[in-house]
Symmetry: C2
Subunit: 140 residues, 2 copies
Amino acid sequence: MREQPPIRLHHLGIAVRSIAKQGAGYCEMFGIEAPGQPVNDELQKVRVAFADLGNGVAIEFVEPLGEDSPIQRILNRGGGLYHVCYEVSDLEAHVERVRARGGLLVNGPVPASAFGGRRIAFVYTPGHDLVEFVEVRKPH
Amino acid sequence: MREQPPIRLHHLGIAVRSIAKQGAGYCEMFGIEAPGQPVNDELQKVRVAFADLGNGVAIEFVEPLGEDSPIQRILNRGGGLYHVCYEVSDLEAHVERVRARGGLLVNGPVPASAFGGRRIAFVYTPGHDLVEFVEVRKPH
């Protein structure tokens, strides 16, 4: 059994008004696999779909669920690429490392329906990049 | 011999004032490999260094070479994650596909010193995402 690395790139988040239109259009334009079945995340007020890039990394297209979705703010600034997600074995430790260096916890840890209940957290780095962590395994 | 896929994620571009400070700080914070030796790209007026993420994808930290570097505009808006780069086997065909769908060619194709002279091009997608293409092989 291969050891799980402590951190690995999991997906890139792209904000779109419509997964069916801009999401599918992005994949068609670049010649990558079309987005899979969308999943609603009521907690984050978003609907997401993943397009596999082939090397264990995906694009996550994120569209708003309702007018009060936090993603509306990103879309009002033009949308597009807005976060990177790393899969980590120790969610709390990674959040703490970011906070200890002047970053901020934005959201979480909370379970994410898009990842079968595995927990996620969003942080801002000291350089103001939005980064998501997703836990390798669902908690017992 | 495995066939080269027509497109694959190559790196994520993060704009920083200093590779030695913010670039190294990012890697230390997330526990990823430190950035390699920086390379000057006089044509793009940037200095870049790569941090390997392990699955064939890297982070490219980009700092300005001089006050008239185009990256200053990105830094003045806060810096951070600002482009995705795909490695492609047919640069012209990919640029043309983006243009045909309402995107824009921003820069290139031009050789890039950071990739041993392999050609790159920057495009804006119709959704206003900045995307770089890098050619798989150096032209003959």
